[in-house]
Structure formats: structure tokens, C-alpha cells
Point group: C2
Amino acid sequence: MIDYRRLRVALLGAGAVGSQVAALLLKHGDELADRAGASLELVGIAVRDLDAPRETDLPRELFTTDAETLIMGADIVIELMGGIEPARQYLLQAINSGADIVTANKALLATHGPELFDAADQVGAQVYYEAAAAGAIPIIRPLRDSLAGDRVRRIMGIVNGTTNYILDRMDTEGAEFADVLADAQRLGYAESDPTADVEGYDAAQKAAILASLAFHTTVPLDAVHREGITSIDKAMIDSARHAGYVIKLLAVCERLAATTDGADAAGEASASRSAASRPLDDRSRPSGEAISVRVYPALISRDHPLASVHGANNAVFVEAEAAGNLMFYGAGAGGVQTASAVLGDVVSAARRHIAGGVGVGESTLANLPVVPIGHVTTRYQITLEVDDQTGVLATVAGILSDGGVSVATVEQTVVGSGDHDTEDGGVARLVIGTHTAREQDLSDTVDRLAASGVVERVVSVLRVEGE
Amino acid sequence: MIDYRRLRVALLGAGAVGSQVAALLLKHGDELADRAGASLELVGIAVRDLDAPRETDLPRELFTTDAETLIMGADIVIELMGGIEPARQYLLQAINSGADIVTANKALLATHGPELFDAADQVGAQVYYEAAAAGAIPIIRPLRDSLAGDRVRRIMGIVNGTTNYILDRMDTEGAEFADVLADAQRLGYAESDPTADVEGYDAAQKAAILASLAFHTTVPLDAVHREGITSIDKAMIDSARHAGYVIKLLAVCERLAATTDGADAAGEASASRSAASRPLDDRSRPSGEAISVRVYPALISRDHPLASVHGANNAVFVEAEAAGNLMFYGAGAGGVQTASAVLGDVVSAARRHIAGGVGVGESTLANLPVVPIGHVTTRYQITLEVDDQTGVLATVAGILSDGGVSVATVEQTVVGSGDHDTEDGGVARLVIGTHTAREQDLSDTVDRLAASGVVERVVSVLRVEGE
């Protein structure tokens, strides 16, 4: 038996993840000590209500409502309370009292990450947050460390299990959104208020964290374009399948090459950059490059590795200049799964404590501007209902062409007819696949189509990613 | 422009990976400095022959044949020479002169890893080797750090691109091994002497490295059971497909639960443990658990995520107690891809140099015994050619049952006949799928089948993994 140096670990929060972290720390303490080179002593668990029911059977004497006293005596503070306050204050207190911190709080990191990182830098502490971006999937260290010598071109992530579960069931069972959502709520895959998941807020927080790491840039949450999946219906899923696609809620983080209108892009993007908590760093190296960070339901080819991510699983697909294509796959949520990532961070924090030296700060000096969605280029699938009359296709094609949107594929089907005996008078459906177009051009063109008189209804406009 | 502390980087070797590392270091020096918090100055490249042709256009003044002088003045030494000597001596020299080391040398790590890790421990240096296990795929940090708080149950890795390329083409094109190998050699996917790849030596080295990390145990290379793919033919691939499987060369690293015959397993395994360069640590915590590390061609269900790893790609599937199933996918080889992993290590080494403190040692205190292949349990597919006579199936079934091998599925087909007018006299093929059996029992039973008189030929015995 080795007489290890004892490190005091304080836990804030005893919910689904917190109670699993505490239980595993107690159960595997000896093994973890051998790995960390330090004895990890859980000195207390701060909760709001001592009498609330817990998922695991933890010793009552560990619980306290006095988080501040608990933090004061800790070497490592694990924050699993969620929410912005008082989590933020507690973590700042922990950093300033010399502790390393471990957190899974994506909302806090996406909004106040720079404040925490700066505070940690100043005292040489370290912030660990492997559990904040894709649950149990190790993605933070690969982006922060393994790919630190490479240049990430693009990340496409399925980073929200609830929406993937819903879209996957809609795709495989032909069910409608509302029915699957209700089922997901019954089964515990979705919250009673599903807004954070289905409107893409959760994915947007994770996208901000992933993009910050991948592009060495502070990405403020309000620079992330966000759309949810509530408008996705069975017809859109069927139409996607027919065209060889599946609909996934994707977090896309993309590096945009320097272009001749780079100054323009950077100019429009400056609002995003100055919105960062951390002021624009004068030492940044202007490269002319920019980035886009966006969350929306998108079509992805059924051949793409992300298309086979089923159920509530997550996956992060990374395209890097030297490494090529990488994919990280696993459980994106769940108490015990997320606890695995938290405990990995605790062992890392303990090893660093024993090794000495200061913590390594976040690398944000690339400081690339985040362009607004209008500047993004991608491919689109536009579904229209049009009058089934001679010349309508020519009119539609003309409007697209005038708008700078180049057509790759068109499929026309009759969906309803006025008079079967004549060629005209019914309603036809046009599914148009475009070549790469600029989002602003596409959006303006769709507005013109809607107002053109020949288009009865714009059924859907979906981006096509991964090509 | 920030005035960074300057770190001297020495590169040993300028082959496919080394020349890319040098080129990327020179090209992206400013970006890497911002990320590392240090200026990474490539001070020299040690090669054997100054006049050998290089893949990239590197400044001639960087090249030297005097590796020892180069190492003496370096903060970070990157070893990409391959082979055991003089790589081992150079790395020990680097460690002892205060440098952190980065290596992609799997042969060296699998045979002399403990010696390097011990030397680094003694002076507080760090050994980085992300490129040694699965090329560009970040797998070392996830195992070493992200999963350090979890318990890995099993790793199944496709860790050799050449053999995956060959098996994938045999599967998709119905080609024979020799033809695809010749093609792979022409295309540069296989060496002119393909032994290291096709006989599983390369995969075995990687398996030893992955198992050491996953199980916090020194795994000597000679404890890794190894079989290659040279015996795999078209008929076996077809038969696998017919049964819903694909054949992959898998590196399987498995934790075996403590059993009543644990003492027996540990006893037989002690030869493997004492073969480690590092002596058996008296401080190890006897858990009754053991591990198995093995490389062989195995059947895997076409539904398994590993089944869709095509071409020369690699993937590592990890089953952990808390995290559940994870998969890491990407390019397993290639100069520029591997250079990405090496440069990530260089940035990590630089950050640690700047942060101060000692390097974190390898965690090997679990020190689990490695059991010989005979102790492993898995499922099997046995293909036999038998006399097509009444009672043969009963005889075969009896031998299996007596040997402790339980039959799950049987398929009998006639492959050739002596006399079509009688029921007897031809040759039938039996494909038997077993329930889980102990390898030693299975092997003994197959020997008895071969000697039984009713079995004309044992066509193949393949393990079934991933179930």
C-alpha cells in the first residue's frame, strides 16, 4: 500500500452526474489513487437541499449546504450544479483559493468561459471540462492537445442526444415530431420543457466550446447561428430519404479561407468578436481567415459516417488539414457516462497537482472573426409547391439564376391537380438541389421565389452538409 | 508580435513522417507558437545520409549526421527514425539531458517502453507518443487521460491499415489475398516485405501499447498472442459474409473478471508478467483480475461499427464500464496524417516546458497478469469438411459436447459427392457456430475432430468478436 499524498476533492451538486461521480470516487478510490499518484479524498458534497432524494446511496455525512466553506479547503473542485449562478461564483472562488476545477457546465463555459480561463491563468490553476461538450466522448483533449499541431478545417457534430433520438425515430419509424417527443419525454430522453434541446440551445453551447478549441479563438455564444428541429416533419424526412439523405441536427464549426471580400466579412463579424467577454487581443495575427459556427437541422448523405449515428448517441466528425478525417463516437449524455469524463478530469487534475507547475491556459490567440450566417456557403435543398403550368419551371430557374444560385438537380412531381383533362391548373412539387451558394443569396432568392406568383408555398429550405 | 520563450526542437529522422513534421513546423511556426506559448525552433534534423532524396524541400543547413550533438542542445527531441537502435540510445540521451521526447516508434515502445518511462520519471521528463498507436487518430490521450477515471473492459482495434485495406478489398471485390497484396504493394499501401503488417507484428506492438494504457499495466510484447491474415482466403470471406460477418484483423485487449480459477490464470500468466522489462511491482494491488491481449483475424457482425471501417482506415472501439461504448476513427497511417499526431505532441511538450513541473509518469500499478491465449473465452466459427454419411453429424456433435464446446448454429451443405445415387460417400461442409468457449477447450476439441476419422479437413477456425 503506497502512502499517497492526499488531495481533497469537493463536489458541488449531486444530481444525475454528481451522484455517479461521488459513488465512483468512493468505490474505485484505490484504483484511482494508483493512476493519479494521489489519494482522492471526497471531502464533501454541496447541495441546496440535504433531504432531496438521491439516485445513489451516498454517506449522509458528506452532504453540506455550505458550498463556500467546502470549496475553501479543497484541492480540486468539481462543479456539477449547472446554471450560471452560483456556479460561476463558486468556481471563481475555487480558482482563487488555489484549486483546480472540473466542470461539465456547458452553459457557463459558453457564456463565461473566458472569465474562468483568465482567472485560472492568473493563479496558474487549470480548468478541466471534458464532460461539457459531448458527454462521455473524449473530444476536448483531442481538439486541445492531439490536434494542437494541425489546422482544423471543419467540425460537424451530433452533440445533442435528445434531438438525435427524435430525428432517428422519425427517420426509422416514419413517426411525427410531436409523437416522438412525447415518447422521449416519457422515456426520460427529453426534459418536460424540451426547449434547450429541440431549439438547439444546448447544441449551440457545445458548438461554441468546440469551435473555441478547434480554432484557438474565443467564440461567444451569441455568435453561434442557431435553429432547432421543431419545423422538421415526416414529409421532410421522407423527401430527404428519397434523395439519399438523412436529417441530423448538426453543430458545424468551419474555417473560412481568406478571400478578397475578407475585409468585408471581418467587418461584419466584428460585432461578434467584440461581444466576447475577453476583449479583442491586439496581439492577434490577422490571417484574413474567419470562422462560422452554426447549429441547424441539415441533410447529410446516408453514406456519411454521421448518418449512422443512431438513437441518443453523439459523434463529432473532424476534418483537419494534416490528420484528414477523424470521428469520435459514443454516448452523449447519461449520468454514469458523463461521470466517466468528469473522473478522467479529476485524475488529470490530481496528476497536475502532484507534478507541480502552473496550469496550461486556453489558446485563443488566433482570434478569428466569426462571420454571420449570411456569409456561409453550403449546398441547399429547396422544396417548393408551384402552379403546374407551362413555363413555371423556367420562371423558377430564372429567379434562381438571377439570384446567383446554381441548380444541380431538379425533381418535379405532381401533388394535386385542378383538372386532369388539361396539362395545367394543378399543383406540382419541385425539389431543387443547388450547387454551393452563399446563404444570403439563397435566402434573398427564396424570398423572391415566394413572392413570384408562380410559387404557391415554400415547403422547406434545408442545408446539405458533409460534401 | 509576442516575444515567446524559444524552445529548441531536434528531429531525428526525415522519412515520410519526419519530412512532413519538419515542413509543417517551418510552415506553421507562428501559429504553433501562439498555441504552445513558446517559439518552436527546429534546430536540426539528424539523418544517416545527407544526400538521400527527401519528400519535401527542407533547408539543407538543417541536416546533420551528428545526432548526439543535436540532442545535447535540444528542449524537445522528436524521434521518427524507427527501429530499436540507435533510437533507444538517442531517446535515453535526450531524456537524461533534460529534453521531453516525442516518438512514433511503436516497436521501441512495445519492447523498451518501461525503460524509457522509468528514465523519464527519474528526471521528471515526459514521453509523448500519440502517433505510435493508430496514426493520426487521437487515442493515447483519451485512454491515458479522459478514461483515467473509468475502467476499460475491452478494446477492439483495427490498427493496421495495410491488412484492413487487403481484407476490405477481398470482401468487396471477391479478390484473393495474393492478388490484393500485390496490388497494395504497387499502390504503396504495403511494403515490399509485408511481413510486419500481414503477420500481425505491427498490430501486436500497437495492442501492447493500447493495453498498457487501458489497463494501467506493463504489457510486454511477448505476452501478446499474434496471428496474421495470410491464411485468409476468398472462401473464408464468402462464408463469413453468408453468416452476416466480415473478417477484420483485430487487436483485442480485454479485462477478464476475477474467477474461481483466478489463481490458476495468474499462475500461468506469471511468465508473461515477469517478462516485462519492469520487474513485478510489489506494491501492486492484487484484484484477481487479469487481461488478455491478442491480435488475430476475427469475424465481426456486419452491424458492428467496426465492420464499416473501409480501406486503409483505422478505428479503435472501446468498451468502458461507465462511459459505455466509444469509437475513434481515422487515418491509421500516412506521412502527413501521422505528422499531425507528432506535432500535437510537440505542442503539448512545449506547453509543459513553459508551465514547469515534472512530467506525469505512466500509470502501471494495476499490474494485471496477462493470461495466455488458452484462457481466453470467445465464440468460434468452425468450418469442417466431413464424409457425407449417416451419423457423421452425431459424431461431430458428440466430440464437441465432450470437449465442453456448446453448439449455437450448424449449417450443412454438400460440396462434392462420390456417388449421386446413394446418400453416402460424398463430402459435406459443416459450418458450426459455437457459444462462448475457452480457447484451450476449443483447440483440443478441434484436434480431436481432425483425428476422428469422419472429418476430412478442418477448413478454418475463426473467432467471433464484438458480441
